[in-house]
């Protein structure tokens, strides 16, 4: 009978690599959340240095994203994971993508803050944007905590957390229209619609991460919200 030890050693290394990949995903989550926090501070405080910091800092997140992708491919090719390991690998790939996109959205917000820092502002719009940011940052954290703790109940809370973000984003059109016809203010407000849209997308990515967590824990993938049939469950 073949000596089982070499195979167990190979499996041990595989599981160590899997744990390292997951650690790096959580590091990506921290970087993405921090980038979003800094980007909103740059916007609210009109601080170009913070905006520059966010833009430059995205390289670290991108490098980690690419590193995870490269090692993910190696693990798939060499270790052919199955069962929970396979689901975790799938989740790592998806969550890595979502977090990288959140980082890009933070960069977009930072760039908007730079483009608009000499323009007049509207306090209502700023207040709504701050409110949105105050929801989506905890959403990122909650989704990543649900992942780390394998907490299905926490993951299932994400769609409810996302609801005010969607509502505020929809209301942003009215706020922008209420800014009147003053050219510089309109230019600033149009840029803030882009910021609003970025924040709304960050919320969606956080929900997507939570969907991945649910898949990891249950083995069944389903979208928490169905964009093509919005409110279908409430139509009764």
């Amino acid at each position: 009978m073949a000596d089982p030890r070499p195979q167990q050693e190979a499996r041990r290394r595989f599981h160590e690599e899997l744990a390292t990949l997951e650690d790096d995903i959580h590091r990506c989550g921290e970087l993405a959340e921090r980038a979003l926090t800094r980007a909103m501070e740059a916007l609210m405080e009109r601080d170009p240095a913070k905006a520059d910091e966010v833009i430059a800092g995205d390289d670290e997140l991108d490098e980690l994203y690419i590193s995870v992708e490269r090692r993910w491919l190696e693990v798939m090719a060499l270790q052919t994971p199955v069962a929970t390991d396979l689901r975790l690998m799938s989740v790592i790939l998806h969550v890595n993508f979502h977090l990288e996109r959140i980082g890009d959205m933070a960069v977009n917000i930072a760039k908007m803050s730079q483009l608009t820092r000499h323009l007049p502002t509207n306090p209502t719009i700023l207040s709504h944007l701050q409110e949105m940011a105050d929801v989506v940052r905890p959403m990122i954290r909650a989704a990543m905590e649900a992942f780390a703790r394998r907490d299905l109940q926490l993951a299932l809370r994400l769609p409810d957390m996302d609801e005010p973000v969607d509502r505020l984003n929809r209301g942003m059109y009215r706020e922008v229209a209420a800014c009147g016809l003053e050219h510089d203010l309109i230019e600033w407000a149009a840029a803030m619609m882009v910021v609003s849209r970025q924040l709304e997308r960050v919320g969606d990515h956080a929900v997507d991460v939570a969907e991945q967590v649910a898949f990891l824990l249950t083995g069944e993938f389903r979208e928490f919200t169905d964009a093509s049939h919005p409110g279908a469950e409430d139509d009764e």
Binding site: Q8, A10, H15, V82, A83
Partner: protein, 284 residues
């Protein structure tokens, strides 16, 4: 009296065979009900209950000593050849209890062919290897056609058609295994049992056997025992995972069925933690 009954059951099995289609794809060709096999006092497998679907590939996986080979040998009464073996429970084949005293085990093995781990051609020509079983079973009409048909079905014809008189031992290991498959299917079985059919083959020969299994399942139900979990994942529709239960004194090791489900379920979301631990390597 027993001889008459055997003749009767043989005719019944024959009639069922000729009356095909029976069973339809996915319907059980085998039904195991609480099957236990013991060698002397040692239970090799205990209380196995499962249905093997027709025209699909069913893989049996599990660690060494979990009774995989014992289980597959139950399906064509190969354990009869071991004097100490006792089988209890029911093994129904197309509804017929294979272990009824009146059932002729030779007829069973014709209907349910078997391919072993190591290619075991006879020391004869390629042609004779395939023709042998046909002659023994009185299927001598259009013998050349039958031999060709079996070799074609085993994806070997193009490689050997120019020299059918060549000794089978001169073929490569992969070709010898496909010759054994041709020999098994020449006598027109319903089912082919494969006990580690590719474990002695290189990756290319293994792939040919796996491709062949896909081609054969339109006509045959296939049960395969394999140590290679990726092979089970690649080729099978259903996977049974056998695990080992050790008695309290640690003296007896018995195979039990931990999980039986569609292969994609077993390899992505197994329901039994023992399956999960085994296939992900989190054991020992």
């Amino acid at each position: 009296m027993v001889t008459d009954e055997r003749e009767h059951v043989k005719v019944q099995i024959e009639a069922r065979h000729q009356e095909r289609p029976a069973p339809r794809i996915g319907e059980p060709v085998f039904r195991l009900e609480s099957v236990t096999v013991a060698y002397d006092e040692q239970e090799a497998i205990r209380d196995i209950t499962l249905d093997v679907p027709a025209n699909q590939i069913t893989a049996i996986i599990g660690p060494s000593g979990s009774g995989k080979s014992t289980m597959i040998r139950v399906l064509n009464r190969m354990n009869d050849l071991i004097p100490s073996a006792r089988v209890s429970g029911k093994v129904l084949y197309n509804g017929q209890d294979l272990y009824e005293p009146a059932v002729d085990p030779v007829e069973v093995r014709r209907r349910i062919g078997m391919v072993f781990q190591k290619p075991n051609p006879f020391p004869k020509s390629i042609y004779e290897n395939v023709a042998f079983g046909l002659r023994v079973n009185g299927m001598t009409e259009r013998l050349d056609d039958r031999v060709e048909q079996a070799l074609r079905a085993a994806a070997l014809w193009d490689e050997v058609k120019s020299d059918l008189r060549k000794n089978a031992y001169d073929l490569s290991g992969g070709q010898q295994q496909r010759l054994c498959i041709a020999r098994a299917i020449a006598v027109e079985p319903d089912t082919i049992l494969m006990d580690e059919p590719a474990s002695a083959l290189d990756p290319i020969a293994t792939q040919r056997i796996e491709d062949l299994m896909f081609e054969l399942k339109d006509q045959y139900s296939i049960v395969i025992v394999t140590h290679n979990m990726q092979q089970a994942a690649r080729v099978s529709d259903m996977t049974a995972f056998l695990t080992v239960e050790v008695s309290q004194e640690g003296k007896q090791r018995t195979g039990v069925l931990a999980e039986y489900d569609r292969t994609e379920v077993v390899f992505t979301n197994p329901s039994d933690p023992r399956t999960e631990a085994y296939i992900t390597g989190r054991f020992g």
